[in-house]
């Protein structure tokens, strides 16, 4: 019973927090560009409007993939926020992203197909670092369960500073922010229109937006895991660090230009290779 209530709370509160984060993001971005920006609740207005609009069906299956993607991302959020297995989290998160890519391939629009191909390249770019994060956390804590990882005496960041930096680097992919917003974007892109979401409208587009809110919170939860320990103060610090990291991502988003996919892929692999392996090697040789 308690579990059911927790699950329902996670399903409802996660997109609310994600939507607020998106609204905060749009205000800060506008201020960085010298504008006033939309109201804080703007992302919710957008989604509520999309729910009322006509949903155009390009073919029989293309909306199905987006809803399945949302389902898997919701499942990821539940497993993660209940303190479940971090490996399961990563695998289901990847599955959700894969279904989103299928959604891009499903419509024959060249823009969404290019977007889907770029999304696959992005997944190739960021996945190694995600697995390195899980490996590092296991090496330090001897467990894959998030609730055990965050209830130790010393937070994982003490042992994994380089892996954390690498994770922040690939977070830009996950949050779909410049310089790595190659596959899909809110801002009109010259060569890509809106990438994977080009052919989606109405309720299906609203589902894509809500999926992204869940994903932002999941990404922030990864940051949280690095800083949380068994003291209350560490949880407060972890929350503050999450906000600082998000603010940093917004500033990066507004001060960089989109890179080509070659640059995105190689730089992500170099960063994950150097920082991830260095961190694991140091841990191994000094036997922390």
């Amino acid at each position: 019973m308690l579990l059911a209530i927790k699950v329902i709370l996670i399903i409802i509160l996660t997109p609310l927090a994600g939507g607020l984060l998106a609204g905060f993001d749009r205000i800060i971005s506008a201020r960085l560009q010298g504008r006033k920006g939309p109201p804080l609740l703007q992302p919710f207005y957008d989604v509520l409007k999309l729910l009322q609009k006509e949903t155009i069906e390009v073919n029989a299956s293309h909306r199905f993939y987006v809803y399945v993607s949302l389902l898997f991302i919701v499942f990821t959020a539940i497993v993660m926020l209940l303190g479940g297995d971090i490996l399961l989290t990563i695998f289901v998160l990847t599955l959700g992203s894969i279904f989103f890519v299928f959604g891009g391939y499903a419509s024959q629009s060249p823009y969404s197909v290019i977007g889907a191909e770029r999304e696959l390249l992005q997944m190739m770019a960021y996945e190694p670092m995600v697995f390195m994060t899980a490996a590092g956390l296991y090496y330090v804590t001897n467990t894959f369960f998030i609730k055990d990882i965050i209830s130790r005496d010393i937070p994982a960041i003490v042992y994994l500073p380089a892996i954390f930096l690498g994770f922040v680097y690939i977070l830009t992919f996950k949050l779909r922010k410049s310089p790595f917003d190659l596959s899909v974007g809110h801002h009109a892109h010259q060569e890509l229109v809106q990438g994977i979401s080009t052919e989606y409208s109405g309720r299906a587009l609203a589902a894509i937006e809500v999926t992204h809110w869940y994903e932002s919170i999941i990404a922030m939860a990864f940051v949280y895991i690095f800083f949380a320990a068994n003291s209350v103060i560490s949880h407060v610090v972890a929350l503050i660090v999450c906000l600082v990291v998000y603010l940093f991502e917004i500033i990066v988003d507004n001060s960089t230009v989109r890179v080509k996919w070659q640059m995105a892929l190689t730089s992500a692999w170099v960063v994950s290779g150097v920082l991830g392996i260095l961190n694991l090697a140091v841990l191994f040789f000094f036997e922390f």
Binding site: R26, P38, K49, Q52, A188
Partner: protein, 143 residues
């Protein structure tokens, strides 16, 4: 409750405009006017758009393009003709290739005359378009 007024997404198409009105449309998005305050986004994608802003007169070549863009937009949708060329053909009305204003092909809801239409006038036109969008939404619900 309708949320159209809170989040109007715009698609801008340049018919055969001299770029004067296009610059007017884009100026609305700059820090000086900042229409994103009201939730306006320039989507550049008909599938996401609520309001179609057309600048410039229609000619034989762009009629199928304009029609396709209009058909790709999900209901409810409104069309605003920006500038005198889009409303009636303007000084180009007599040209051999020009068909006339946008209303020769699409059902236009709002006319914003002017050469070039000022950003203030365009914002005013979009606000008028929003109340029409609201009516259309209610009509869809009643169906």
């Amino acid at each position: 409750m309708n949320f159209n007024k809170k989040s109007p997404w715009i698609l801008h198409y340049d018919g055969s405009s001299c770029n004067g009105c296009d610059i007017g449309v884009l100026a609305c998005l700059t820090p000086l006017y900042d229409v994103e305050r009201f939730g306006v986004i320039n989507t550049g994608n008909p599938r996401h758009a609520d309001i179609l802003l057309l600048t410039g007169s229609l000619n034989a070549q762009n009629i199928p393009v304009v029609q396709q863009i209009y058909d790709q937009m999900p209901e409810p949708k409104v069309v605003a003709a920006i500038g005198i060329c889009a409303t009636s053909g303007g000084i180009f009305a007599e040209c051999y290739n020009v068909v006339g204003g946008v209303d020769k092909v699409l059902p236009v809801d709002v006319y914003v005359p002017g050469c070039a239409a000022r950003p203030q006038a365009i914002i005013d036109g979009v606000v008028k378009a929003l109340s029409i969008l609201d009516e259309k939404q209610n009509a869809l619900k009643g169906r």
